[in-house]
Symmetry: D2
């Protein structure tokens, strides 16, 4: 059967401008609030115009040994030049995790599709 999974593109964010970068501590305590920050463009900027822009980031957490991932957050970038206003590709929030696992971040460009990145995080 066809799966949307084949459209989840990845790569090294230092060379591929669409890949979301996950900024989080490598190690946190269980249930401790920490800042989770997703960005596009740390190395190479991506356009932000009405014709070509990143629309959103979506983030999930998958705990080691768990059957299903849990959705954490969505960030939308809604101003792409309207009245000379732009929302840039930074999305940050705070999360609490119960155990060691993996963060999955996705970003969507209206021209170049869906991109993803992951980061393992140790929870003690």
């Amino acid at each position: 059967m066809k799966s949307f999974g084949k459209f989840l593109q990845s790569g090294d964010w230092k060379g591929e401008k669409h890949v979301p970068v996950i900024h989080a501590p490598e190690k946190v305590e269980s249930g401790e609030a920490f800042e989770l920050r997703i960005t596009v463009g740390d190395a190479i900027g991506h356009p932000n115009t009405l014709e070509h822009h990143i629309k959103w980031f979506k983030v999930f957490f998958h705990g080691e040994g768990d059957k299903f991932p849990v959705e954490l957050t969505n960030f939308t970038f809604d101003a792409h030049g309207e009245l000379d206003t732009t929302t840039d590709y930074v999305g940050a929030t705070q999360v609490k995790l119960p155990k060691t696992g993996t963060l999955y971040a996705m970003s969507y460009c209206n021209i170049h599709g869906v991109w993803e990145n992951t980061m393992d995080i140790t929870v003690e």
Copy 2:
């Protein structure tokens, strides 16, 4: 590298209550508006409570031979019993497609993760 694609679960919606069902014509004309309707629960109902519910559907289109998919729509189900109000698992909109391709629908259950389904559509 790890990919979120492995969490995209599928199955026969007649036996698996999380799988979104795509209702659309099998054949449309290029640029002709048609109704696109996504549902969960056509055969087996899914709970709709604060503890356990479907949160959203997300839909993409991939045109034959295209490199990237295009996002069409998001539906969110926001009432899960608050003040005895519920939003049920139906999301419909209208779209225009330029060519033959495939519709991809995803649904997310807060307990059972992400599910997907696809439908080929002929555009003449």
Copy 3:
């Protein structure tokens, strides 16, 4: 104090193309599922281009005598011509309401701001 409420524009949808139209039964039974359909453009079409488009509808229900409204649903229109694909301004779902009250629908145009409409619904 300033309130965002002053930006919620309205008018007669027959003459003002941004106003969302609410399609629902005037009377339903308590807890009975019914189709709730929101549209823009029933009388006058609104552009759907990268430069100028409706981005979303947002819908709330306020029950008679209740202190707070409950959010029902969000519809996003995400294709505005990318690869000649468009999502048109129709959003439909199903809801169950506990009592008589009022539906509030909002729509957002990236150029012309936020518009609203309401519809009273009798629940028996």
Copy 4:
């Protein structure tokens, strides 16, 4: 005519736990990227459970003398205890503004409705 504006509640965030707090510089340069951070709970924490939680923040900018506001961003808080995971009420992004105006932030609690706050920002 009825307007949803009457449901936009406000108050002093030091005493009312639902009111979003806007953290941004008081003065920025035109077109300069700055961090925009919205929080709930700086003074008094709000519950984060499946039964009672904040679901989203929504942010607009209205430039002095402009006719319409421009949407900047949406943050959704999606984990409310599923598998002991929570997303806390912090949402941050980066924006560029063309001129002096006002930021409008809204937050939605599934039990207590919609709350708003505003902040004037000088753009030189």
